[in-house]
Symmetry: C2
Subunit: 415 residues, 2 copies
């Protein structure tokens, strides 16, 4: 079971049982649906035909426009829609076949999906402060070793910007990764679902599609920028190359056998979203600002408590490393790894977050992933207020969570 | 690519190009959304949380109630929702593992899904007039042979009532199938998506869950009885046994890694549907009557043309066999198998339907599958009128299609 979803459900059970909990586990974006999108979905409630496997022509055109505005022009015929970017990633791994290189750390589902399709993940560490992209030099070595051992790596997954670290690999690193993938004849699957959630335009992620356009598949969705995880819609952009056209045929074939098509009313609202009218752009901008303020406020507290932490440049995640506090955690709490640390935080403090092991780290590592996207309020009114606030960290419900984090970290690191 | 969806898209392209086409290929139900369900979906457009992987508590309870009213009582905790019954079937095959026995003929996707997960389909013919259930005696032999050859069959798929034949296996056959599955230690996956579309209550399908409750997984969805294919929602009922609980854990784990959860607004409307308020029951009854009238009218025309045909007892499908016309088809049209027959019908007459080969038949067979669910009208007004009509076959647009079928079959069989 997906570690994120499992942690989420466990926390929801504790909450229903009346416990005070602080949910920092799930990357679900706790923000309300943009009213214009709600209306579009309602207006499309009469759509009950399957439609095309790859998605409606209007949606595919809208998505092509969206990518075109991000220097990733694409023919709508190379856009494929699915019920989330997660199923698209799964189907892509199945379409490409072979073993899969995954960054360490990386999102919980890449390696799990690889195993489900009978492949084996090949873990390659990222460079410091540049999560989501395997160190290109280490990638070359790992693939050479794997091939020498008779394995068949055909694909490398990257996350730009990155979950779990909230960092963005530099263009130089991405270019070296793309070159390595070309030399090694690997398909690059670039998960860019956080691409609209980079705080400083100067930090914006450069897609490997800029450097290896013939072999890069890009995916995104509505889950993160528009808080529509529960609507389940993702899209993939296939490369305009022989490899890309072959992958497209396979991907659509696999999609037709696994999920047929994506909920038609959702496709209709999604087309509107990808067309990026002003209210959509405004919502994403407001959400990005809110993420930035809150994730940085939380990051400050972890840094103040003595955890190591690369600057967070995007998303609503931070990935603190308690290595500097190892002796204290061992002595005071008998905690020697991130699993035990996460368990302690959940059981003693009601704080849900994920251990680095869920992202492929070794047992001994003291890294944890903290998601701040559930701190924006408990009601739609609070969440809309958070989106509109000049200083969201001062809103009483946000401040209460931040104070609670300070309290827990103080208790954890000084007792 | 799924043969049904491919045929559908090819026909849509011809139609857009201005050709007159008659769509008998896709099992998509050409009926409008029940207004009460449209309203429920619209009212749930603000639901954007992932929710539980297995589905919302309200939906799972509603589904348990639905099955309870069909002598298949189940704890809501053993109900799993997914974005269509198709992805649930795929995940079930992955969860059970091993090779899969499929009936011949059977729905296009079972064998394809088995291949996608690295399993091999083991085809077993059905008994005459009892589609959807492998002949139990032949099943025993096939599994014994497969095991002797080192293969690992662990699962048998059945369809009750059946697509493509529109027939319903008798309770006796289902019981013998269930007994064979128990003796052979096979999981039974019983696709019962057509269970509400049996014309005569006396013909109602008996689920293998009645005879082998410990090993039968039942699936259904909203696609067929409520014409909601484009909404993408299916459900599975796991057995209350050690095997069932283990399968549940695996299934939910796989679902969490492939699709996370099912579109939340759709779940909300689906819960209402599975609660079966009077308007839902009324809609399904009207749709069933309409299917019965039209599918029988079409069946008469194939019988009159000389094709062999088992009586259609359910669904909107018929599966005529042109074997009695083999000599004529060979002599007049150089047609020696169902693929060529389907191609001829598409190219000369603009009639789209599926060759039996798509359902696992041999190349030489002259069986084809005809779906009548697209004949109800070209607009929502026509389709509502068809649902309400006392004599839908006399509605001008339905009659025109029936007349066209007569014309095509006359031309085909007498020229």
């Amino acid at each position: 079971m997906s570690a994120t979803l499992a942690a989420d459900e466990a926390l929801a059970r504790r909450q229903r049982a009346g416990e005070q909990v602080l949910s920092l586990a799930s990357g679900e974006i706790g923000l309300p649906v943009l009213p214009a999108l709600r209306e579009r979905l309602a207006a499309a409630a009469d759509r009950n035909a399957y439609g095309s496997v790859a998605g409606s022509p209007r949606l595919r055109s809208a998505v092509a426009g969206y990518w075109g505005r991000r220097n990733l022009s694409v023919d709508p015929g190379l856009v494929v829609c699915g019920p989330g970017s997660k199923p698209l990633l799964f189907a892509l791994l199945l379409a490409v076949g072979g073993d899969v290189v995954v960054p360490v750390p990386s999102w919980v589902s890449y390696a799990a999906q690889a195993r489900l399709v009978g492949a084996r993940p090949i873990p390659v560490p990222v460079l410091p402060g540049e999560g989501g992209v395997p160190d290109p030099a280490a990638l070359r070595e790992a693939v050479a070793r794997a091939r020498a051992a008779g394995r068949d790596p055909r694909c490398v997954v990257v996350t730009l910007p990155d979950n779990p670290t909230g960092t963005v690999a530099t263009a130089g690193t991405v270019e070296r990764l793309a070159r390595a993938a070309r030399d090694l004849d690997l398909v690059i699957v670039s998960d860019e679902i956080y691409c609209d959630l980079v705080f400083d335009p100067a930090d914006r992620a450069v897609s490997p599609a800029a450097f290896a356009p013939e072999r890069t598949v890009v995916t995104t969705g509505l889950t993160k920028n528009l808080a529509l995880g529960g609507w389940r819609l993702g899209v993939a952009r296939l490369p305009d190359s022989p490899l890309g056209h072959e992958a497209l045929t396979r991907l659509v074939g696999i999609a037709s056998q696994i999920w047929s098509s994506t909920a038609a009313p959702v496709q209709s609202a999604a087309a509107y979203a990808f067309e990026e009218p002003p209210e959509v752009v405004g919502y994403v901008a407001a959400a990005r600002r809110l993420h930035e303020v809150v994730v940085r406020a939380v990051a400050e507290r972890f840094t103040a408590a003595g955890a190591g932490l690369a600057p967070v440049r995007a998303t609503c995640y931070l990935y603190p490393d308690f290595e500097p506090l190892r002796d204290h955690l061992a002595g005071a709490h008998d905690v020697h790894g991130a699993d035990a640390l996460a368990t302690l935080l959940a059981q003693r403090y009601g704080v849900g977050l994920l251990p680095g092991t869920a992202f492929g780290e070794e047992d001994r590592s003291l890294r944890i992933r903290v998601a701040t996207s559930r701190l924006y309020g408990g009601t739609d009114a609070e969440r809309f207020a958070a989106l509109a606030a000049d200083e969201p960290a001062r809103l009483p419900w946000v401040k209460a969570s931040l104070d609670r984090i300070t309290e827990v970290l103080t208790d954890l690191t000084t007792l």
